[in-house]
Symmetry: C2
Subunit: 293 residues, 2 copies
């Protein structure tokens, strides 16, 4: 029904007009003159109306003059889109939505993102944080493209790339009897007021599991947890990265018997692929941790 306007012939018309002739246009388009001539003729036939006057010189018909600005507009839009897509693919511009668990978001991401935007100044990043399960949901649901988290359960639809191990330790106030220790075994904690938190299930399956049964509270919110620790009500276990260093009165003592670690890594959709910008981010993160860890 409607004729398809290809971009090349339109470009020919444009070139003929502003180069002032078929030969000049051909030179400008790196084509031969017959190619230009035939492209125009083909276009004219498709439209059913000549664009250039027949007699000698390259003068537009009234219909051609009518078409010219419209051709120019379509070409402009085509080129804009083409450029935009290429830029996306080449990771020169774009947007990455990602998520991370709070400890990573606050302790790892600032440097990481800073370095990232140094290398990719035109890429934009959105980062949200949440607990490991929330991050997993976001990635699985496609709401973010990448997650930085620890993996609790295997999921066939998700790819997990381990990046770093994060050892669990005991956190207490500086005046606590255990505060001076260099390292601790789990037996030393028996009888203490232990506060459970969101990371406590790391101990499940380890030798320290019996401690969980003793815990008096279960506080998931980090602010509340630190408040309780600072007030000296009890102690807790946390991975080192999750230990809030900015609280002067809190101490972190590595747990060495048993050693318990969580594995932090990059979570991405397994079946779906990533946007070019997210690919850049993925490569950057893996490279960054490949160097340091």
């Amino acid at each position: 029904m409607l004729p398809e306007l290809k971009i090349q012939p339109l470009r020919c018309v444009l070139a003929i007009v502003d180069a002032g002739g078929f030969h000049a246009a051909a030179r400008q388009l790196h084509r031969t003159q017959p190619a230009v001539s035939m492209a125009v003729r083909e276009l004219e036939q498709r439209l059913g109306e000549p664009l250039f006057e027949k007699g000698g010189k390259s003068v537009l018909t009234p219909f051609g003059a009518y078409c010219l600005p419209r051709f120019r507009e379509l070409i402009t839009q085509h080129d804009r889109l083409s450029r935009e897509l290429v830029a996306q693919v080449q990771q020169q511009v774009g947007h990455v939505d990602m998520a991370a668990v709070p400890s990573v978001a606050s302790r790892v991401m600032p440097r990481l993102l800073n370095d990232f935007i140094q290398r990719h100044p035109a890429l934009r990043v959105s980062l949200q944080d949440g607990n490991a399960d929330f991050v997993r949901q976001l990635v699985a649901g496609g709401e973010v493209e990448l997650g930085l988290t620890s993996l609790w359960q295997k999921d066939d639809d998700l790819d997990f790339t381990p990046l770093m191990r994060d050892a669990v330790g005991v956190v207490c106030r500086d005046d606590h009897p255990l505060a001076g220790q260099e390292a601790l075994g789990w037996e030393a904690l028996q009888g203490q007021v232990l506060i459970r938190n969101g990371t406590s299930r790391l101990l499940e399956g380890s030798d320290a599991e019996p401690l969980l049964a003793e815990s008096a509270f279960d506080i998931s919110n980090m602010i509340s947890l630190t408040a309780m620790l600072v007030s000296g009500i009890g102690i807790t276990t946390l991975p080192r990265l999750a230990f809030p260093e900015e609280y002067e009165r809190l101490r972190f003592i590595p747990l060495v018997d048993p050693r318990v670690e969580r594995e932090l890594g990059l979570l991405r959709p397994g079946r779906r692929s990533l946007s070019p910008a997210a690919q850049a981010m993925e490569a950057f993160i893996i490279e960054a941790f490949g160097e340091t860890g």
Copy 2:
């Protein structure tokens, strides 16, 4: 440098998404499934990034999802332009600029234009009037596409199609001695107060030329001329079409010895071609006068 996005492959992507598969899209596009498949692959290679996930089902990649609305937009604009140009060519819409000498503009054009817009309801017409020379200039300069006028001088760059002949007669007030005549010869005018006007040079070269030497005034403005005639100051000669019938006191008496006629016709650029809308107008006018005269 930048890849050329052809419309067809983009349409394929669109069809695949909203038909929900390659086969369905192929049916919708009246192509075979491999054609669709290959078109997409070609496009992906050109962009350097897959649009659809590789695993089985037709699911867009994030990049594909990013592209989709942009493809849709480009296609929409392409189709809009294509439709618009076809409508122009088929004379369904458009605009004609034309000019006519006042007598034609006021006595012929009203009916003509009315009939024209009946047949071409979506075509717009601009009409301006002016004397024959002005009309010729407008057509020659390309400011209007068509002129309705009489041709004074041959011009190689202009085509003139005769449409009607317009006989010159004598115009006088109803109480003038000549007013009762059915027809007149030029000798009957000798000794009368003759007012020249813009059409008087029609008499040049005819037997009645001696009259011009006797003329007392030369009034080019029609309003002034009729005022003088109505006041009974003198008489003049006019082609019948230029005779202002709305003045009850004026009479038109055909000049039969010699018969002097002007030839009114359609003036159009000879070298340049016409816009589709103007072509419709030209054909319409020639057809209309072919019937009646």
